[in-house]
Amino acid sequence: MKNSWTGGEIARQADQGGELAVAVHRCEPGAFERLIDRFERPLFTYAHGILQNAFDAQEVVQDAMMRAHKALTRQYDEERCAALAVRPWLFRTVRNLCLNKRRSKRSALEESLESFDDGRLGPFVSLEGSELERKEEVELLRRAMALLPVDARELIVLRFMEEMSYAEIAKTVGQSEAALRGKVFRSLKLLRDALESKGVAYAM
């Protein structure tokens, strides 16, 4: 299957947000709600990708939204808001908060990861399968993801679920695009290996 989106679309997506940031800065009615609507789910997926815990992820996202609001309304002037690349900025905020949280409860996290992989589910099923099969497939993928190191999970979320450009990921995680290309590929490979250990084969 060929992907339909183009570089132009990525660039347009990246541009979104500057106007929204200015609207939030001016406290326009509904502006902050729009910011939450636009970013809450992706940020939650990202935070969950790092933390592997819905409760913590939710807390982090809320904290990040409040910080964003404070920064946009109290700390940044209008010019800075207009020039802001909102998506990488928000994701970076969530990332930092997640890493802080993770640092403070690392031992507990590693424990939960080991118990995660109980191998109860069968082999990978095709995309055209029934609803139940599809659910199992998603669950299998989720478990495979949980087996990956945190930086691989994070890149997979940013690149393939949030569909960020390499330039945006570079801004979010603070690494060069060239390095990220290699890391993204290795992350995919790790995911493939994790799936393979559960009986799903990819050539790659």
């Binding site: 992907n3 902050f32 709600e33 939450i36 309304t73 993928l141 393939f160 290309r181 995919l188 790659m204």
Partner: protein, 291 residues
């Protein structure tokens, strides 16, 4: 181009993020290398599968976030009032909603939504706008610094029907030399009427400026019983205080004690030192000189 360099670029090729020269090289390689070409399909498939992992938070943080950043406002007569549960936070003349939204955003960085003002707060605002006194205004001074806090508190002690000078307020808050700073605080008062900043006038005489204009200030003061024409007349004569020949006490001209002095006993003074030298003492009510 070698296979390992091609593999790390397959994903960027997919989204057309490669420079033209790299793209040409990668595409040329893929045409000849079967294993890399197969990897390309796998990447596509894996990428597609991963998209199904997007999550939705069990509970949206929206309500809590909005509660944390939004306050309410309501119309009371001719003014907008922004308020929290039990405090008045801002009052502005009600014309366009932006008249309160914008200054509120600037001052507090928060959104305003239409709401219903609690009855106690409404009563206070009505009383204040009508020119009746509000003894203990439920005003939010939390975001005020020490000076602002003291100045606004002092303003609430100026009785209805009287005026004080900016210099007097500065002395009352223990910053006699900071008249300009105090005047700035008064000018920035976010809750006019309720904190009666209109009862402060320049020492040099006259009415001075007001957030809703000098004319409004004049009208407000005369409605409260201040004889503004007399204030103008005294200013022309450079008279700042009125003494009583019988009690040898001197006051601000609008002090309730000064108003009781009979015309034949009125003794005008241009400054406090004159009065003190003539054997007069400052009034304890209006405190024309620091006690």
């Amino acid at each position: 181009m070698q296979c390992r360099n091609v593999l790390t670029r397959i994903d960027a090729l997919r989204t057309r993020e490669l420079a033209p020269i790299e793209r040409t090289a990668v595409e040329a390689h893929l045409r000849t290398c079967r294993s890399c070409d197969a990897s390309q399909d796998d990447v596509e498939q894996l990428v597609h599968a991963v998209k199904s992992l997007a999550l939705v938070p069990p509970v949206s943080c929206k309500d809590e976030c909005m509660d944390a950043v939004a306050d309410s406002f309501d119309r009371v007569g001719d003014v907008w009032v922004a308020f929290t549960k039990d405090r008045i936070r801002m009052i502005r003349a009600a014309e366009s909603i932006d008249d309160i939204r914008q200054p509120y955003a600037k001052k507090y960085g928060r959104v305003l939504e239409q709401g219903t003002i609690p009855a106690t707060l409404r009563r206070q605002v009505v009383a204040a706008v009508e020119g009746e006194g509000v003894d203990t205004p439920k005003v939010d001074l939390e975001s005020a610094n020490d000076l602002e806090h003291d100045v606004l508190q002092t303003l609430t002690r100026i009785p209805r029907g009287e005026v004080r000078t900016y210099a007097w307020v500065a002395r009352q808050v223990g910053r006699p030399r900071a008249v300009r700073a105090v005047a700035n605080v008064i000018a920035r008062n976010v809750v006019p009427y309720v904190v009666p900043c209109h009862r402060v006038v320049p020492s040099s005489g006259g009415i001075g400026n007001y957030i809703f204009g000098s004319a409004t200030k004049r009208a407000l003061l005369s409605r409260e019983g201040v004889d503004v024409d007399q204030l103008d007349a005294l200013a022309k004569e450079h008279v700042r205080y009125i003494g009583s020949k019988t009690t040898h006490i001197f006051c601000f001209p609008t002090c309730r004690d000064a108003k009781r002095i009979q015309d034949k006993n009125r003794m005008p003074f241009r400054d406090a030192d004159d009065a003190l030298e003539s054997g007069y003492r400052p009034c304890r009510h209006c405190q024309p000189v620091a006690a």
